[in-house]
Every structure is written in structure tokens, then in C-alpha cells.
């Protein structure tokens, strides 16, 4: 620790640390849960756990663009698809492995997002939403109809499972650990982006973009960045999906998937990263848990979504509570010892 580390940035603010909650979450994801999965030793449970994690990443990445930057994004699943197809085609056509396809999936999805964002970023509110809807449909139709390249509705078989620099990770537990590690790192990265002064600048665009502009925030550039970064993480999720299932088809990335991801973000709480994670877990695990109810389960899922929005319009864990939680428990903020409160509630971002 150098001298600066211990110095207060101004009277009333000092550093704070919180490591207990993150340690518990990591313990759950990397020890307790895999132990349980190994104990049951059912492929189906592994599938559900991996699927839930992939949707956690999709939901978290949409949280960045829709929850934080406030851009209603109706085509997120298409970038998930671009990532998945990048991984699948690199594997089937060039024989590349997961180590290479993972970053490339993210980068290709980000590149596509950047290109389509160039003309659309000046659009606002509902017009932006309709533009993303059109982009999503366009990309979906390319996957469906460019048969020579994507094999169209037949889909693509992904012959390689997970590996790291040639070291195979394709057993059930290996696959789980791979997905869990990639998703965890990505969610931490998204957390850094949304729980920082950069995130505050994004939030200011959501609140009042003209006013943010007058405060020196480059609104167009930041919107592009949020959109592109969120597509990058959706692409990463796509690569995980492709290598996990071994087979992808355009149906995995259609409009209804975008809406499902949007529902996760809204049910969890717009602007809340923990909320986005909770929303994804709920909307993936609930339908699986209700399998015994047969077709009736879809009505139940709809009912849960409807009631949660009706009773908790700010989400299961709304932005205000989520930020307080992050500041208190994750050491992401300064401890406020000034006149605001002697309790040392977290404030600002480190």
C-alpha cells in the first residue's frame, strides 16, 4: 500500500473494503454448486446450470446498454447469435478450438455492433428501439437464409467442446467450470463498467442526454461504447452456447430470445446488475422447476413476470438498493465519514 492508498480523496471520504460477499458468491459458484452437480451426476442438471449461467451473462450485458445507458435494445439475441455462429463456423470450417473462438466471437459481435451502431446512435428512445429490432431481424434472417455460409435452418454442428490451449475441458464438470469462469469474469468486467464513474456518465445519458452533454460527457461516443461492449459480452455468451450444446441453429437467436433477455433485466430491476443476474436465474430456473406442471408452467412463468412488475415496478432488486448493496458489500465505493452519515455508507466509486 502506498501513501496515496491510505489517503482520503477529500475530507469525509476514505477507502472501504468488502470481501465477504464476493468470497461467498465465488464459493457458491466454484465449490458448492459443482459439488452438488457432481453429487447428482445428471447431464440434465449440468445443462440447466450452464444455460442459467449463459443467460446471466446475456442479461448482465443487456443491463449495461438498457439498464445503465438507458437504450432500449430489442435485438440483443442477434449479437448472441453472431458470437455463436462465429464460434461454430470457425470450428467447423477452420478447425479452431475454444481458446481462439471465445475472444473472436466477442470481437466479431462487437465489430458488427459497432458498424450497425454508426448510423443508429443518433436515434433516441422508441426510434432507437425500433432500429435495434430491425438490426436483430436482419442478422437473424442472414443466419436463416445465407445457406451457403451458415447452413441456414439446418444449423451448424460444433464438433469441439471446451478446451484451454489444447487442454481439454469437455467433461461435464470441465464444461461447467469453463462456463462459470468465463461468465464470472465477464460479469465482474460488466460490474466494473457499471459501478464506476464511467458508469455514472452512462447513467447520466439515460437520465437526460442533453444535460449530460452540457456536463462534458460525449454522449454519442459513450452510447456507441455501451452498445458495442454489450454486444462483445453477448458474443462471448454465444461462443459458450455453441461449444456447450455442440449444435446451433437460427431459432436459438430469434426475437423472442431478445425479449426474454429484456424481461430478465426488467424483472430484476433496470439499472441493477445484481437484479439482472437474479432475473436471469429466475426466468431460466423457474420454468425448469415447474416442469412437473406440463404446459401449465408457461402460464405460471408469465404470471410470475406479470406480478413482479405489478408489485415491484423497480424490479426484484431495484437500482437504488442494488447500488447500495454493491457499495456496502463489494468495496467498490468510498466510505463516507463526512456529515452525510456516520455509519460509513459507501458513496461514489473507487
Amino acid at each position: 500500500m502506498n501513501a496515496f492508498e491510505n489517503a482520503a480523496p477529500a475530507d469525509g471520504l476514505t477507502r472501504r473494503r468488502g470481501l465477504l460477499v464476493p468470497a461467498l458468491i465465488l464459493l457458491l459458484v466454484f465449490a458448492a454448486l459443482p459439488a452438488l452437480l457432481a453429487g447428482f451426476d445428471k447431464g440434465y442438471f449440468y445443462q440447466i446450470a450452464n444455460l442459467a449461467l449463459i443467460f446471466v451473462l446475456l442479461s448482465a450485458s443487456m443491463h449495461l446498454v438498457t439498464g445503465v445507458a438507458g437504450l432500449l435494445h430489442l435485438g440483443h439475441a442477434a449479437f448472441y447469435g453472431v458470437g455463436a455462429y462465429t464460434a461454430a463456423l470457425l470450428t467447423s470450417k477452420l478447425g479452431l478450438g475454444f481458446t481462439v473462438t471465445l475472444p473472436l466471437s466477442g470481437l466479431v459481435a462487437a465489430l458488427v455492433a459497432f458498424l450497425v451502431a454508426l448510423p443508429t446512435m443518433r436515434l433516441v428512445s422508441i426510434y432507437f428501439a425500433v432500429a435495434t429490432l430491425a438490426i436483430g431481424q436482419m442478422l437473424y434472417l442472414v443466419m436463416l437464409n445465407w445457406v451457403d455460409f451458415t447452413k441456414g435452418p439446418n444449423g451448424v454442428i460444433v464438433s469441439k467442446g471446451f478446451e484451454l490451449f489444447g487442454f481439454s475441458l469437455s467433461g461435464r464438470l470441465g464444461a461447467y467450470y469453463t462456463v462459470a469462469a468465463v461468465v464470472t469474469l465477464s460479469v465482474i468486467a460488466i460490474g466494473r463498467l457499471s459501478h464506476s464513474y464511467y458508469g455514472n456518465a452512462l447513467r447520466s445519458i439515460r437520465e437526460d442526454d442533453q444535460c449530460a452533454d452540457a456536463m462534458g460527457v460525449s454522449t454519442v461516443r459513450l452510447k456507441m461504447e455501451a452498445f458495442t461492449l454489450s454486444a462483445f459480452f453477448a458474443g462471448i455468451a454465444g461462443s459458450l452456447w455453441a461449444h456447450m450444446t455442440g449444435y446451433i441453429s437460427p431459432g436459438d437467436f430469434k426475437f423472442s430470445e431478445s425479449i426474454l433477455i429484456l424481461a430478465m433485466v426488467v424483472v430484476g430491476g433496470l439499472g441493477s446488475l445484481p437484479g439482472a443476474v437474479i432475473g436471469a436465474l429466475l426466468l431460466i430456473l423457474l420454468p425448469e422447476g415447474l416442469r412437473a406442471l406440463g404446459d401449465f408452467r408457461n402460464i405460471m412463468v408469465g404470471l410470475v413476470m406479470f406480478l413482479s412488475i405489478l408489485l415491484l415496478p423497480k424490479g426484484l432488486l431495484g437500482e437504488v438498493s442494488a447500488l447500495r448493496l454493491v457499495r456496502r458489500q463489494l468495496g467498490a465505493a468510498w466510505r463516507n465519514t463526512g456529515p452525510a452519515n456516520g455509519k460509513g455508507e459507501g458513496i461514489g466509486w473507487r
Binding site: 477529500a10 466494473r192 455514472n200 462534458g216 437504488v320
Partner: protein, 256 residues
């Protein structure tokens, strides 16, 4: 000597309406200037032309010797011109601290890379500490540190006014433009605000304010610009403005 702000033959038309016509004016470093005029005189439009919100139809604006007409609002802001809004624009769903931090991060940008990896190296940590420090100082300047963790939407009207000023101050501007800061405040609050603006000016900040409240403007400004129907009709000390025939005519009307 060059002026801090130099407005030369500036005009702006909205369709058939000449909102601002051929206005030439300047503000010197360290001045406290008032901009007054009857409703619809073009005061806010002139502010928007300076801060880059509205493109000019003609003329130029220069700040600190550099032409700023044509720049985007965020570019103008980063050069050191900071503003508040007539109809009070805070970020309602952000805390008071986070609101003000936007001004600080606007002047001292933290990019995506800085947010991702800033914690890992010293310059990144220094940057966010500096943003926090500037935010806290701006809150101290307006006396809002005790509500720093509150949601901006929960503040009473008067405090939201100061929040907006704190957000502008967190940018550490060279030139502060206040658009009707006293609107909606009672007499006591207006007096406090006048004292506060004088104090800011006393610390060396150049300030320009648009105001309807004559006592406020006459009381604290060193020089007053008067607009009427988009044109500058007077420019002088409060005493000179009080007796200026053109100003009296614009405000009171004159018998035909």
C-alpha cells in the same frame, strides 16, 4: 487584451423568427455579468448559442482566444464553460453525489478502459480519487454534503438548484453560465443565492447570469447586457442600465 468570451455578430433564426440578431458582446476574465431582457428577448437562445446547444445562423463565438462556434456542447464544456438550465435539470434517479460526479467525470473523463482496469494501476486509481475529491469539494461549496447519498429526486426544490450548480462547479469551469438561478425561489432564498454567487465570483470564477429578478442582477452584477427582441440594446454598469432610455422603453413600453 483579448476577452475571455467574445461574441461577434451572432445571430440565430428559427424559421421566420429572428431569436437572436447580430449580437456582439464580450465577457472579461473575472467578471460577473448579468444578461437581462423581457420575455422572448433571446436570452436563453444566446446561452444555447454559447454553450453549443443551438448551432449559429451567423457570427462567431470565441472562448479564451479559440473559436468555439460549431463545437458540440460536450466539447465546449470541456474547454471550461459550464452551465445550469432554466428549467432545473438534475438526474432524478441518481444520488446527489453521483449527479455531481458527472460534472467531474465530464471534465476529467474516465473511459471504459479506465473503468475496467483503472483499479489495477496507480494512474487509474488517482483518476477516480480525483473525481471523488472534486465531487466532494463541489458538494461542500454548495453545502450539500449532508444529503450526498440521497436520491436527487428526493431533494426539495431549493436544494436541487444548488445541486445543479454543484454539478457545474465539479467541472472546475473557467466560466459559469447560470440560466435564471433564482426562478422559483422566495426572497430569502434569492438573497442567499445572491451571496453565494458573489462568493463564487470572489473566488475568481467568471460568471454570467440570465435573470428576471432585477434586484438580484442589479445587486451583484458588475456589468449588465440587455437584450430585447433578439438584439443587444444596452451594455453597461447597473447604474447606467437603470436610467438607459432604450432599456426603459423595452421594459415599460413608451407612448406613441
Amino acid at each position: 487584451m483579448t476577452h475571455l468570451l467574445e461574441i461577434r455578430n451572432v445571430s440565430r433564426r428559427f424559421g421566420g423568427v429572428q431569436a437572436v440578431g447580430d449580437v456582439t458582446a464580450h465577457v472579461n476574465e473575472g467578471e460577473l455579468v448579468g444578461l437581462i431582457g423581457p420575455n422572448g428577448a433571446g436570452k436563453t437562445t444566446l446561452f444555447n448559442l454559447i454553450s453549443g446547444f443551438t448551432p449559429l445562423s451567423g457570427g462567431t463565438v470565441a472562448f479564451a482566444g479559440r473559436t468555439i462556434s460549431g463545437l458540440k456542447p460536450n466539447q465546449v464544456a470541456r474547454l471550461g464553460i459550464s452551465r445550469t438550465f432554466q428549467n432545473l435539470r438534475v438526474f432524478p434517479n441518481m444520488s446527489v453525489f453521483d449527479n455531481v460526479s458527472v460534472g467531474a467525470v465530464g471534465a476529467l473523463p474516465q473511459g471504459a478502459f479506465g473503468a475496467l482496469f483503472g483499479g489495477l494501476h496507480r494512474s487509474g486509481r488517482d483518476r477516480s480519487a480525483e473525481i471523488s475529491r472534486r465531487t466532494w469539494e463541489a458538494l461542500e461549496a454548495v453545502g450539500l454534503t449532508h444529503v450526498a447519498a440521497e436520491l436527487a429526486a428526493n431533494l426539495p426544490y431549493g436544494q436541487r438548484k444548488y445541486l445543479e450548480i454543484a454539478r457545474a462547479l465539479a467541472m472546475r469551469p473557467r466560466f459559469l453560465i447560470l440560466d435564471e438561478p433564482a426562478a422559483g425561489l422566495n426572497d430569502t432564498e434569492t438573497r442567499d443565492l445572491a451571496a453565494f454567487i458573489k462568493r463564487l465570483h470572489g473566488q475568481g470564477l467568471t460568471v454570467m447570469l440570465v435573470e428576471h429578478d432585477m434586484t438580484l442582477v442589479m445587486g451583484i452584477c458588475q456589468r449588465i447586457l440587455v437584450l430585447a427582441s433578439g438584439r443587444k440594446i444596452a451594455d453597461g454598469t447597473p447604474d447606467a442600465i437603470r436610467t438607459d432610455a432604450a432599456v426603459l422603453e423595452a421594459y415599460l413600453g413608451v407612448d406613441e
